[in-house]
């Protein structure tokens, strides 16, 4: 593009005579004037959208809030899962001392009378976990007895629930002792 000081189209641009001649040679000042006009022309061709930063900030804020919510929900779920797991583990540990119905074991004395007692009908919902899970007392021929407390603790929610249901059904057919 050749430089022609007279060529400035300056459509709409305010005339700025003498504006850029501060100490500059005449030709350079004219060049500066042409730069000014070109900038004005470009700006008219592509006007700015002044609302854009505010819109962007609003979206960014919404997105950030959504992200915080998502992470909070995830953290809460994890907390519930861990808490539930710990609660179940605690229940499992306390169950024998708690006097829940315990299935008779051939090696067990079987209550105060030395005889197996009938399950307490007043406590139908209590599941004899320790009768189901023979921790270290494996019974030969029964592969289910190899399940340990650790295995149960490793189970996730749905598996644990299914396992509990199965054992609850089985407990009806098993002898248990309640104190």
């Amino acid at each position: 593009m050749s430089f022609d000081p007279k060529k400035t189209d300056g459509a709409g641009a305010a005339p700025v005579d003498g504006l850029f001649d501060d100490g500059l040679p005449e030709d350079l000042a004219a060049l500066g004037q042409q730069l000014f006009d070109d900038a004005a022309r470009l700006t008219r061709a592509y006007p700015a959208d002044a609302q854009r930063p505010a819109r962007s900030l609003r979206w960014r804020s919404v997105w950030r809030s959504a992200t915080v919510l998502r992470w909070s929900a995830l953290a809460a779920s994890l907390l519930v899962l861990i808490g539930g797991g710990m609660w179940i583990a605690e229940r499992l540990d306390k169950d024998p001392a708690g006097g829940g119905p315990v299935a008779t074991n051939p090696n067990d004395a079987g209550g105060e009378s030395g005889k197996p007692t009938e399950p307490d009908a007043s406590q139908p919902d209590r599941v004899p976990f320790h009768s189901i899970v023979a921790f270290d007392q494996t019974q030969p021929g029964d592969s289910r007895d190899r399940l340990t407390a650790e295995d149960v603790l490793k189970m996730t929610g749905p598996k644990l629930e299914a396992y509990g249901d199965i054992r609850a059904d089985e407990s009806e057919t098993m002898e248990s002792i309640s104190f």
Binding site: F3, L24, L28, G32, F36, L42, R52
Partner: protein, 190 residues
């Protein structure tokens, strides 16, 4: 710190977005990059508003942010530009002379302006010319934005304009060297 408390992104963008966008436009040459850079300037402003101490005008501070962003972008563009240049050099001369059908009006508009030549100048000269002739800042304000003495600003503006004049003269000379009727020359050879 009263100034800081009064800073509001909405108000600031209403007042200064147009001028920041204009500066970004003349520096980048296309409206998309100008939009992105101007917007990024205000997002940066929103994040770092607490650092504004009110010793300078808000718009000079915004120009400072913009210039830093443009320099950062130019560094990342450098690598892409080099790759494009390799591709361009591998093209035949004929294809270079024929404008592509999809050549956008924006590019044409940019090529017609002197700012496409300013973009080839060193950072310091380019920034000084943009702030002076596009943004119409006083020398003192330019010195404030660029963080350099007043004399340096004057020198950069002078040498920037002189380089620009030199580029234009050289290009004009190149155009004169091209035969006006290349087919006549070809006919003489045959």
């Amino acid at each position: 710190m009263d100034n800081v408390e009064k800073l509001d992104i909405n108000q600031a963008s209403e007042e200064h977005f147009a001028r920041i966008h204009r500066a970004a436009l003349v520096m980048t040459g296309n409206p998309w990059d100008a939009d992105d850079l101007a917007q990024e300037t205000f997002l940066m402003f929103a994040r770092k508003a607490d650092r504004f101490e009110g010793r300078s005008s808000l718009y000079t501070w915004l120009y400072g942010i913009l210039l830093n962003l443009v320099r950062r972008e130019r560094r990342s563009w450098g690598m892409r530009r080099d790759k494009l240049r390799v591709l361009w050099d591998n093209e035949s001369n004929q294809s270079k002379n024929i404008p592509a059908a999809e050549t956008s009006i924006e590019v044409t508009e940019w090529k017609r302006s002197l700012w496409s030549y300013v973009a080839r100048l060193p950072d310091g000269q380019r920034d000084a010319l943009v702030l002076r002739f596009s943004e119409h800042l006083a020398y003192g304000e330019i010195a404030e934005v660029m963080g350099c003495p007043l004399g340096t600003v004057k020198s950069r503006i002078f040498h920037g304009l002189a380089s620009l004049r030199e580029m234009l003269s050289r290009e004009e000379a190149d155009v004169k060297d091209v035969p006006k009727y290349p087919f006549e020359d070809l006919a003489n050879v045959i």
